[in-house]
Amino acid sequence: MSAEALVFIVMILVAAASVLALSLVPAYTARLTRRLPRFFGLTMPQDLEPAIRSRAVRRERGAVYGAVLMTLLTIPSLVAIESDPSLPEILQENAAAETWLLIGAVATGGALGTALASVLQPASRPGHLRVARARSVQLTDYIGGLERNGARVLVITGTLGMLLTLVLAQSSVVRFALEPVSAARIALCVFTVLALVLFEVVGRRVVERPAPAGSPRELAWDDAQRAAIVRDLAGAPTVLGLFASGAVAFDVILMVAAPQPTNQTLVTVIAVAAASAFLAGTIIAIVAIVPKPQQHYLRTLWAGVPPSTMPAVPAVTAPR
């Protein structure tokens, strides 16, 4: 294992230990909880505050455990890649490859840990009155179209772009200043697709979980925290897809920089397409942030109900 990878692993472990230690400090968790109402666009009910705080801390710890566990599981494969003489030379990797592999492990492990912390969380026990939503919910109620489809588009663009780069490099149609084929690329592709599958499968599982609640306000907070988990899950493929797309963009730069004996038109077309894709991605990212995506669930599930008017006690309809 390279020294760079070792430093990266130590940094991950130190950061994880710091977050875990902070989550034991009441002042930190209180501050974390105080930020939530503004973030989610809800008011904080005093009776629910301990439960909300506990879920927020649990989510944070889940992400840390997941990231650390996946990092530790990746170490043997790093050692194996480096020491296995039977692997093709191109796959016996360098420091950059190992760091990319670790970034993929942290992002995917963090998302998996968040989801598991949510799925394995014991159900709350509301009082004798119970409220439930009268219509079914789906993934689209918890995460906006731009974030949802943005993750998918980035993953598809990144992985397809990388595959195209590999094919171009093998076919010698164009020339690169540096060899673009590497185990890092393959590992990044695998983690990117894995993170998307995780979002699509586990995200739906999180949404389908029962939501026992004793009041509309409690249900709204459950929705808010569920939305946060779904968005965390979408974050991993988004980041990894962005990395993959960035790697492809880097390859395009290397391709433009290299002297091309032929196919100058093809190189120009690829460069313009990559630049356009980057510009479009930047515009979409800005548009996605503007309407407070963390409050998307309020627009779909609580449309027309201001947070301050959500009753703490449900109204019981008398049978006719």
């Binding site: 439930a132 219509r135 919910v137 029962p210 249900l219 449309a303």
Partner: protein, 117 residues
């Protein structure tokens, strides 16, 4: 929103049935809206799945909802043919505006403007 009081003298399936009918009547639940699955609603309300299934069966027998096999249970369109068509169109409009990220107030303003024109 459905509220269930297990201490009430009214059986849970009846509380559920009555509230769904009330929400269909006042327009909260419009035609084409998909209801939660029997198991999900039972878990949410802390009651047995059979209780929810019984309420759904009675609502279906009365024509308020329809079960479309594995696709789920949906609110039926009620009233004459024109009103039924309007309800389905309203559901499609709501789904589309939500897809586009348009909030309820803006969507209602669009409908009002269209009705005035």
């Amino acid at each position: 929103m459905i509220t269930l009081d297990p201490r009430s003298a009214t059986p849970p399936f009846e509380q559920l049935r009555v509230q769904v009918i009330a929400q269909i009547t006042d327009g909260t639940l419009i035609a084409g809206t998909r209801l939660p699955t029997v198991r999900r609603l039972a878990d949410d309300l802390g009651i047995a799945p059979n209780t929810v299934a019984r309420a759904y069966r009675e609502l279906e027998a009365d024509g308020f909802i329809e079960t479309r096999g594995r696709n789920g249970t949906y609110i039926n369109a009620r009233g004459d043919a024109a009103e039924q068509q309007a309800q389905v169109a309203a559901r499609a409009f709501v789904d589309r505006t939500r897809q586009l990220g348009i909030d309820s107030a803006a969507a209602l303003a669009l409908v009002n403007a269209a009705l005035r024109s």
